[in-house]
């Protein structure tokens, strides 16, 4: 199973998802992220899904819960780089991705994190 890497940039954690997401990887990411947020005291998380071709309901729900969980640790989560085809499919599936905010790219994501409190 491929573990998703978590990088630290200042007060922000950057999570670039480069691989085909298996259920186990996503659940593992949620655990790893919880540990990292607590360990680093990070205030923001950017999850980069620009390389992700498929987001189904399980992955979508898990990304939402990652957002809610981060909130519990006083950190905001922004999902960046969602592909148009993925967005169109999520709309059709009826998924609204509560718990996370979204931005077109990491740069805008960082701005969102900076502006929010």
């Amino acid at each position: 199973m491929d573990r998703v890497p978590i990088l630290k940039i200042g007060q922000t954690l950057l999570v670039p998802i480069q691989v085909e997401l298996e259920d186990q990887s996503v659940l593992q990411l949620r655990e790893d992220l919880a540990d990292e947020i607590v360990a680093t005291g990070a205030k923001g998380v950017i999850i980069d899904i620009s390389a992700v071709e498929i987001v189904d309901s399980f992955i979508g729900r898990t990304l939402s819960t990652i957002g809610s969980m981060s909130r519990l640790f006083d950190a905001d989560t922004v999902l960046v780089g969602m592909r148009p085809a993925v967005a169109i499919t999520l709309v059709e599936l009826g998924l609204s991705l509560e718990g996370v905010r979204t931005a077109l790219n990491a740069e805008q994501g960082l701005r969102l994190l900076g502006a929010g409190s």
């Binding site: 298996e22 498929i54 499919t89 009826g94």
Partner: protein
């Protein structure tokens, strides 16, 4: 035709990969490819989680007018769905994590067929055509 056994959670990824290859081969648009692969992912997971494991059959099909499409058939010998009508309504969407995601998957494909027998198992066949 490709047969993919669905026994463990990484088999969901295998199903996606097979469906993606088949869809790309038909020349369907990227958005349509994404839709059928995502629908297949939903249904494969259902087969695993609710059906106790089963099988997916992926094949490229063609319509009379020469259009190509992807047909994916899921089958399991699990408990079946007691109230299929209810399962297909939006009240059972995947938003709250309790639904079967069937209604969502149905919106993503062109043809959708569900057959289920409580105690015997479930079969779902979906087709997406290239335009």
């Amino acid at each position: 035709m490709d047969e993919v056994p669905i026994k463990a959670s990484n088999d969901v990824v295998h199903v996606r990969q097979k469906v993606r290859v088949a869809a790309a081969g038909t020349g369907m648009s990227l958005v349509d490819q994404t839709k059928i692969v995502t629908a297949a992912s939903e249904l494969a997971r259902n087969t695993l989680v609710h059906g106790g494991g089963g099988m997916a059959r992926v094949e490229v099909v063609s319509a009379g007018s020469g259009r190509a499409g992807v047909r994916v058939a899921f089958s399991d010998h699990g408990p079946g769905i007691a109230d299929p009508g209810l399962a297909l309504t939006d009240g059972w969407t995947t938003g709250n994590g309790m639904g079967l995601g069937l209604s969502g998957a149905r919106r993503l494909v062109d043809e959708f067929d569900l057959a289920t027998e409580p105690g015997e198992g479930t079969s779902v066949v979906v087709i997406k055509w290239s335009r």
